[in-house]
């Protein structure tokens, strides 16, 4: 299992060719109270860096981009009933979607946890 991060504050956990994607604790703190999350349906083909999901806080809607290209295998159904999971457990139960990687080499451009921490420290 490997954990990766993007400068757009998404994380992805890769296990056996499938990546689970969510937004980071830093991102949820910036957004504030999440009241709705729109996640892509299974089968959706996502391109790296393109809009994949939308997270709605009380204040505003923000796009979530797919950190890598691939096909969605599962969306987090729990977010429909409890979107606040994005606030309370952003990097565990508050995940957004899972996808199969179409080009694992795209992972090379992402940050590891230490790299993301030092990136956030500069913000």
């Amino acid at each position: 299992m490997s954990l990766y991060f993007t400068k757009e504050h998404e994380w992805l956990r890769v296990e056996g060719g499938v990546a689970t994607v969510g937004i980071t604790d830093y991102a949820q703190a910036q957004l504030g109270d999440v009241v709705f999350a729109e996640v892509p349906a299974a089968g959706t083909v996502l391109a790296k860096g393109k809009e994949a999901a939308v997270v709605e806080s009380v204040k505003a809607a923000s796009d979530v981009y797919s950190p890598v290209s691939g096909t969605v295998t599962e969306a987090n159904a729990a977010l429909e009933g409890d979107p606040a999971l994005v606030n309370t457990a952003p990097e565990t139960e508050g995940w957004f979607f899972k996808l199969t990687l179409s080009d694992p080499s795209e992972l090379d451009g992402l940050m590891d946890e230490a790299g993301y921490k030092s990136f956030v420290a500069t913000l």
């Binding site: 504050h9 991102a27 957004l31 009380v58 204040k59 979107p83």
Partner: protein, 368 residues
């Protein structure tokens, strides 16, 4: 995720340091760095509805005019200022020649002057407009403005400033706290009972800290200010009101005072009175949105295939637990109960026209 922060240099307000000490997230608003939230918008919103919330609204413009300006001021606004009782406030509208809304404001007739509170984002334009009409505006930039709102605001403020409990809604008076002169009105922008407190900038931090030390009071950011006023059905200038909206279609005909309806003499009086008589082509309405997806400003409103309007404010209502919105729609679709749809990212959300306020107001009309 999309970028949500900004680092552009901004003017600061007198409570900037206090907000940062309290852990506020600061955002640009009306040219100032201002707190959007402290502990979280939903918690702050609900705290204000149940206890008392302290808002820093020092970005708003506080202006003074001599009492002798009342008649000239009436040529720019449709409110009865000449007939305003001493220490009474009136909500009014600064209108352009076409009857569009340049700003909404509060006018208080005080013993020796008229005290105006205008929106921060347009205060420079307001001052220029008033001065161009020949009004000798004094801009009180050295005074800060706080709002203490919520059902327990009276207890918290009366503990520090005895006597404020006797003020009625939309009445104001001079008070003092620790030798500091205050101007306090029983008014606000949340739909709750509460006060707006004008205080010299040099003393505002001490007063804010004294208020925050009261057990009922927490600091509240702009995020909850917006969700509270939306639930209360109160329009926000620059979103629900602008130079192209008329007071009639905005549902603000009450701001045209009775005497002014008879006498006219305010901008576009003939046109606005005809619109009041005939009914406007579109109306500002409230929409209860089905489901959980909020409809935001700019979302289009449909009746079947026909586009009938546009959302001007929208979001999640913490008190109701559902999305709500304000929209302007064609008058034929503005009746309570009308079933409409709002388009959000290609999806149609069912919405019905509901009376505003969405959440019943909790004003104190008579002295306790």
């Amino acid at each position: 995720m999309a970028e949500v922060s900004s680092t552009e240099p901004l003017a600061t307000l007198p409570l900037d340091a206090l907000h940062r000490r309290l852990g506020a997230r600061m955002v640009p608003f009306a040219g100032y760095a201002m707190p959007i939230q402290f502990e979280g918008i939903i918690a702050e919103h609900l705290h204000t509805r149940s206890h008392a919330g302290l808002f820093d609204v020092s970005h708003m413009g506080q202006l003074l005019l001599p009492l002798t300006s009342a008649a000239l001021l009436e040529t720019l606004i449709p409110g009865d200022i000449l007939g305003l009782a001493e220490n009474a406030l009136r909500y009014s509208l600064l209108l352009n020649a076409e009857g569009g809304i340049l700003d909404d404001l509060m006018v208080t007739r005080r013993a020796d002057d008229l005290y105006l509170v205008v929106n921060g984002a347009v205060k420079a334009a307001d001052i220029a407009h008033l001065r161009a009409a020949g009004l000798p505006v004094e801009y009180r930039e050295d005074w800060a403005l706080l709002a203490l709102q919520g059902p327990q605001a009276v207890e918290a403020l009366a503990r520090l400033v005895p006597g404020v409990e006797a003020l009625r809604f939309m009445r104001a008076g001079a008070f003092s706290w620790n030798g500091v002169a205050l101007w306090v009105s029983r008014s606000g922008y949340t739909g709750e009972d509460g006060y707006e407190i004008s205080v010299p900038a040099a003393n505002v931090e001490a007063l804010a800290e004294a208020l925050l030390a009261q057990p009922e009071v927490k600091p509240i950011g702009l995020g909850a200010r917006d969700s509270l006023r939306l639930e209360a059905g109160l329009p926000l200038y620059g979103h629900d009101l602008d130079e192209t909206t008329s007071p009639i279609e905005a549902g603000l005909a009450f701001a045209i005072s009775k005497r002014r309806k008879l006498e006219g003499g305010f901008p576009a009086a003939e046109k606005l009175l005809a619109e009041l008589h005939d009914g406007p082509a579109r109306r500002r309405i409230g929409l209860a949105v089905e489901g959980k997806l909020p409809a935001r400003e700019g979302a289009e409103v449909f009746a079947g295939a026909e586009r009938v309007g546009i959302v001007t404010s929208g979001g999640f209502s913490p008190s109701l637990g559902q999305p709500i919105a304000m929209a302007y729609v064609a008058a034929a679709y503005a009746a309570d109960g009308a079933a409409l749809e709002i388009e959000v990212r290609g999806k149609r959300l069912a919405a019905s026209v509901v009376p505003m306020p969405f959440k019943a107001k909790n004003y104190v009309r008579a002295a306790n």
